[in-house]
């Protein structure tokens, strides 16, 4: 590990240690924050009891479904919009504004339309994540070198073969950026929706524990969500780096 990496580890460990000490000595009231060791202990107890297994599957399932739908349809729409330059120019102002407006405030409207079920949560997840994938697809297709179109002609490839064997690999880094953003946005939207109003799920569990003043449970669940989100983001980042390295060595 680099020097900065070690210092980072020390800073994080120091912060956790300081928090632990402040909680144990009563410097921080336990009605505000419980000690990190207590959070971890409570989390293991909750996980071992299996009481939140259903909520874990539900929440992660909705996130996976929202991301998969966003990536598939976002890619499809991106290809379609890229093929229609006039439509694309007309849509540009919308893309530039989309993430600047709080799309999330439409979640209550979705609940009014579809009722309190999985559907509004899934839809708000897709609505938040899909535009990142569309924009990434457009960027990726823009950056396919013109020479590849000529290569396809020289080799007498059909449009499908050219798309799969040349254009897709050339656009891949941008597409992967889209996938990464979709995952991140999907996570945020689904958890936030569950938190505000949902029949079940991890976000709802945290909100319930907060309402019950059950701090141990609340912090344990918060820790769980944050650890899962961080792990997923780190995994995607690591893949990205590995691919970038391979491309750097001259492989497509």
């Amino acid at each position: 590990m680099t020097r900065a990496g070690w210092i980072r580890l020390a800073v994080l460990a120091g912060a956790a240690g300081a928090l632990e000490l402040a909680c144990r000595t009563g410097l921080i009231d336990r009605h505000i924050i419980v000690a990190p060791s207590e959070m971890v202990g409570a989390l293991f107890a909750i996980l071992a009891s299996g009481s939140i297994n259903g909520d874990i599957i539900r929440t992660l399932g909705i996130i996976v479904a929202a991301v998969v739908l966003s990536v598939i349809f976002g890619f499809g729409l991106g290809v379609l919009i890229h093929a229609l330059p006039r439509l694309r120019e007309a849509l540009d102002p919308f893309f530039a504004t989309y993430y600047a407006v709080p799309i999330f405030i439409f979640y209550p409207v979705l609940i009014a339309i579809f009722g309190l079920s999985l559907v509004p949560i899934l839809l708000i997840g897709v609505a938040t994540a899909i535009v990142a994938m569309i924009i990434a697809t457009l960027n990726g297709l823009d950056r396919v070198p013109r020479v590849l179109t000529k290569v396809a002609r020289v080799h007498r490839m059909g449009p499908l073969a050219a798309a799969v064997r040349l254009k897709l690999p050339a656009a891949a880094p941008h597409l992967f950026t889209g996938v990464k953003l979709s995952v991140s946005y999907g996570f945020i939207a689904v958890i936030a929706a569950e938190f505000i109003l949902a029949p079940a799920g991890l976000g709802r569990d945290i909100a319930d524990a907060y309402a019950d003043f059950n701090n141990r449970r609340m912090y344990a669940l918060m820790l769980f969500v944050l650890v899962i989100a961080t792990l997923v983001n780190m995994l995607l980042h690591a893949w990205d780096l590995r691919w970038a390295e391979r491309r750097g060595r001259g492989r497509p």
Partner: protein, 247 residues
């Protein structure tokens, strides 16, 4: 493509969206989703009321405070991590990891520390805004071309002169991009805070309207917030392009 044709195309898309809205309204019914025209007439009715005014003022006050905090802390952290290489190397991955977390999870913690009033909302909004401001400011300072610094040294500029005449103008477009994104996410943070636990503000009005099944009010407030965020974003984007052209 000429500008008027683009404008016409964009307006056609707005029209298409309104038609989709109208079609959805017919599909799901009046209580679930009122049509565009009744919603717009309700908007004209709602805005002058004191109920709307008071809640909009509450949101505006919380948003303004949160923005000041997010910009102040974000710029300070960004300048520090951009200027001090080791701090940047240590801190950047932490900031990036925090940026992509579902920060709503941390809201109970903010509420327990800051309480249910305006300070909780402000802290939560600022928490959202600090990260993009800090990350883009840091990147802006790191990306300064070394030639600029060399010329500053050659001209024997003092530290303050270097900051004011070289560093500041060179970094401003990118820093402004950070401020623009910070504006957006801070607004979202404040609204989320109001939606989850508050008795005041536009976020509260939306949630309150939902529990009373007043979809017209929900749509109206959502659209007003949309229009505000889109207009602010367009203005900041325009300033950004303007500055980019100058440099």
């Amino acid at each position: 493509m000429s500008v008027p044709r683009r404008l016409v195309d964009t307006l056609l898309i707005v029209l298409a969206l309104l038609l989709i809205w109208q079609a959805l309204h017919h599909l799901v019914g009046e209580t679930a989703l009122p049509g565009p025209l009744p919603t717009l007439s309700y908007l004209v009715e709602l805005v002058p009321t004191s109920r709307f005014g008071e809640n909009a003022a509450a949101t505006a006050a919380a948003f303004a405070l949160a923005l000041v905090l997010a910009y102040g802390i974000g710029l300070a952290v960004g300048v520090w991590m951009g200027a001090h290489r080791l701090s940047g190397a240590v801190g950047e991955p932490i900031l990036v990891a925090l940026y992509s977390l579902p920060k709503i999870t941390l809201y109970p913690l903010i509420l327990l520390i800051f309480g249910l009033g305006i300070s909780g909302k402000v802290a939560f909004g600022a928490l959202h805004g600090i990260l993009p401001v800090a990350l883009l400011t840091m990147a802006a300072i790191r990306n300064i071309s070394p030639v600029y610094l060399k010329s500053a040294r050659t001209l024997k500029l003092s530290t303050w002169q270097t900051i004011l005449t070289v560093l500041f103008p060179a970094t401003i477009p990118e820093v402004l991009a950070g401020l623009r994104i910070g504006f957006t996410v801070t607004l979202l943070g404040v609204l989320l805070g109001e939606m989850f636990a508050s008795k005041q503000g536009l976020g509260f009005l939306i949630i309150n309207a939902m529990s009373l099944l007043q979809t017209k009010e929900m749509m109206t407030i959502a659209i007003l917030l949309f229009a505000f965020a889109a207009a602010a974003n367009a203005l900041l984007l325009w300033i950004e392009h303007h500055l980019h052209r100058r440099i």
